[in-house]
């Protein structure tokens, strides 16, 4: 037990050190922006997983708290510049967002959490659409399609921080990210956290051990909306603009995809997913117009083949570390083969998709595009044939290599099981 907690403390300290030094190692302004977005996404994703992974509640409307808190924060910052609102240091502004999120979460949560499962998901959908419709009606608060513009420079703070340069925003986000992660992790170790898991596993039984299922869900909802609001405030500070899309379905969808790809079953899952998806959307969107489609395809594949997400896949293989290196090495051939066939299939599929995008967006006939470094003309049928052949070949290969990979995995897992029961 003690060794474990030492490992965790050492690990956490290492991560914090890394976070502090990262911007110094990276020179690009764009990379800094991406890291800031990762930080915000991590907080939001973990908050969302409090509901989904730990509480068993799927919400399509969680962006409401993110967005509304963003609006509130923007108005507060504008108010401070005007002198209408008493001064709060920008460093503490995320708390304002948190409490705004909490306020709406408590209200909406009370009625939503009386149901679970599909009705809960649909109520959340209804509220998401309601709030989105309201953004165009209540112009006073939401300012319609323009959104609310704000400025994070209000006054100079301690140590000369103004939050003008991006790097100061990075440290703000990193700080609140670490604090939020620590608190949310700690919450999983509390009685509430445990009972929340119990409600997820068996909501009825929980009543017979003394807890009101509704109240547990409501509390989880409220806490989750607090941290969502915190993330929303950081978003407002970072981007200095809050628009109606921050409360809508699309924003909720993105966070759902992040959490699911990362894995709902482990605490680290949403963190992984948030980082991965933010990186994908930032860097991939420059390379190809099809990046959103790829994101959707990855999500669907996860749902179909790896519902535990990336964290789930890692957890599946973790026990195998107990076996000797000989066993671990023996897995490499089958896994590599599966990897290769997957790569071939992907090459074919991605090629077709890229060509289709190019074809539909270009007006010029016989235009050439660059695919995998090769120049080719989309109107000629050879590239299409080649990609299609790769796709079929790869798919056929996968049907052979994947079962073999599964067999290798099962063999090793059985070895682990035997050891466990000795």
């Amino acid at each position: 037990m003690k060794i474990l907690s030492n490992k965790k403390t050492v690990g956490s300290l290492a991560v914090i050190a890394l976070l502090c030094l990262l911007p110094l190692a990276v020179n690009s302004g764009f990379a800094l922006t991406v890291m800031i977005q990762c930080g915000v996404a991590i907080i939001f994703a973990l908050a969302f997983n409090m509901l989904l992974g730990q509480g068993g509640m799927l919400s399509f409307g969680h962006a409401i708290y993110f967005g509304l808190a963003g609006y509130v924060t923007a108005h507060v910052m504008n108010g401070m510049s005007n002198g209408d609102v008493p001064y709060i240091p920008i460093s503490l502004i995320p708390l304002v967002g948190g409490f705004a999120g909490l306020f709406f979460g408590i209200l909406i949560g009370f009625v939503s959490t009386r149901r679970a499962g599909t009705p809960f998901a649909m109520i959340s959908l209804g509220f998401a659409e309601l709030v989105t419709a309201l953004t165009l009606i209540i112009v006073f608060f939401f300012n319609g399609e323009e959104g609310v513009q704000t400025d994070r420079w209000v006054r100079e703070e301690l140590f000369g921080i103004t939050y003008g340069p991006d790097i100061e925003v990075y440290y703000l986000v990193a700080f609140w990210c670490v604090v939020s992660v620590a608190i949310m992790y700690a919450i999983t170790r509390t009685p509430f956290g445990r009972i929340c898991n119990a409600v997820r596993d068996n909501p009825e039984r929980v009543q017979f051990i003394g807890y009101s299922t509704h109240r547990v869900r409501w509390l989880a909802f409220s806490l989750s909306s607090f941290f969502s609001g915190l993330a929303g405030a950081l978003h407002a500070v970072n981007v200095e603009h809050v628009g109606f899309e921050t409360v809508g379905l699309a924003q909720s969808a993105v966070i759902l995809i992040m959490v699911y790809i990362g894995g709902t079953g482990a605490f680290l899952g949403p963190i992984l997913g948030a980082i991965l998806v933010t990186l994908l959307t930032s860097y991939l969107s420059d390379i190809t117009p099809a990046w959103y489609l790829y994101l959707g395809a990855i999500f669907v594949s996860m749902v179909m083949f790896a519902p535990g997400g990336l964290a789930g896949l890692i957890a599946m293989h973790a026990p195998i570390r107990q076996l000797g290196s000989r066993c671990q090495l023996s897995m490499i051939p089958s896994y590599s083969l599966a990897f290769c066939t997957s790569l071939i299939t992907l090459a074919g599929g991605v090629g077709i998709i890229e060509m289709l995008y190019f074809h539909s967006t270009t007006a010029v006939r016989d235009a050439t595009m660059t695919l995998y470094g090769i120049n080719l003309s989309v109107s000629s049928f050879w590239p299409w044939l080649a990609c299609f052949a790769l796709l079929c070949l790869g798919y056929y290969g996968c049907t052979k290599t994947y079962p073999r990979m599964v067999v290798t995995y099962n063999e090793n897992i059985n070895l682990v099981r035997e050891r466990m029961f000795q």
Binding site: P119, A121, A133, T361
Partner: protein, 315 residues
């Protein structure tokens, strides 16, 4: 008065379109317990397929083949996509259909672009059928109404007079029992999903050229269909019909008449030149809040009466 009749006509039309969508969704949800998030995507596919076919061959072949294609596509998706996910539970199925909606929208954009495609009303029907009290009633819209009613009647007789209809009606309220009775449930599921999607496809074919055929059409209509089936009540096709018509008519009347809500506020002594948040609310009209109303209904219904107006099962 003529405005009322005209709005009513358009409202009923819109309602019937919603019903085509809602009936398919009700069938799928009631039979399989799957809330098909991608249902409106099949509506969109119906419109796009019809556009492509009418661009090449003609509108009338499109009317027949587009829904068929959508139905077959739906059946394939059920067999190879949804069925394997079934064992992971309802949440996974929901997420699968959600991801599917996402992917279909992107693929449609990929093939046909982001701009609306010129899917037009066929020339033969693009005429005024008759004029009443100074307002033109389009022949195409009459045609849409006729087709929707025809399909409704076919559904009605199909469900009440055929054996498979009997099984489906039983499954609407007692799905577990039906599978215990030994029917080839996987096959029924596949065909139900296919037929449900085909119904959505028909709605797309006849509605796409009026509502506009573009990649965003699925996300615009999708949530409203959910409102319809929740308000109408799950497992109840009759409820879906009534809810669709209700929402369609209310929506159209609210927009046509565009009544100001000011009288309500002035009754409380709030004037037009008030400051702050009330300034937005005071100047509201029924047309302005029309988009809100379905979702308000959805939320209220789910909170106070989850089985909807006529439902036989809880959500």
């Amino acid at each position: 008065m003529e405005v009322f009749v005209f709005s009513l006509f358009n409202g009923i039309l819109y309602g019937m379109l919603l019903f085509l969508l809602a009936s398919g969704l009700t069938l799928i949800f009631s039979m399989m317990g799957v809330l098909n998030f991608a249902h409106a995507s099949f509506f969109m596919l119906g419109a796009y397929f019809a556009y492509q076919i009418s661009d090449g061959i003609g509108f009338w072949p499109g009317l027949i083949f587009a829904p068929l294609l959508v139905g077959i596509f739906g059946a394939i998706i059920e067999r190879y996509g949804l069925r394997p996910v079934h064992r992971f539970g309802h949440v996974a199925e929901l997420l699968f259909t959600f991801g599917l909606a996402f992917v279909i929208e992107e693929i449609v954009q990929m093939i046909w672009g982001k701009v609306p495609v010129p899917y037009d009303v066929p020339a033969s029907l693009n005429v005024t059928a008759f004029v009443w009290q100074g307002l033109d009633y389009s022949a195409y819209r009459l045609f849409m109404l006729l087709i929707s009613i025809a399909i409704f009647v076919a559904l009605f007789f199909g469900l009440t007079r055929t054996r498979i209809g009997l099984i489906i009606r039983a499954a609407l309220t007692h799905p577990n029992m039906v599978s215990s009775l030994g029917h080839d449930v996987p096959k029924i599921f596949m065909w139900t999903f296919g037929v449900g999607c085909a119904l959505a496809g028909v709605a797309g074919v006849i509605g796409g050229n009026v509502l506009g055929t573009e990649p965003g059409m699925a996300i615009q209509l999708g949530p409203i269909v959910f409102v319809v089936i929740v308000v109408g009540g799950l497992g109840s096709l009759g409820g879906a019909l009534i809810a669709s018509l209700l929402i369609g008519v209310l929506n159209n009347l609210a927009i046509s008449y565009d009544l100001s809500l000011y009288p309500i506020f002035s009754a409380f002594g709030i004037e037009r030149d008030v400051d702050g948040i009330l300034s937005d609310l005071v100047n509201l009209t029924t047309g302005g809040i029309a988009p809100l109303v379905p979702y308000l209904l959805l939320v209220l219904m789910l909170i106070f009466r989850p089985r909807g107006l006529f439902g036989m099962r809880d959500v």
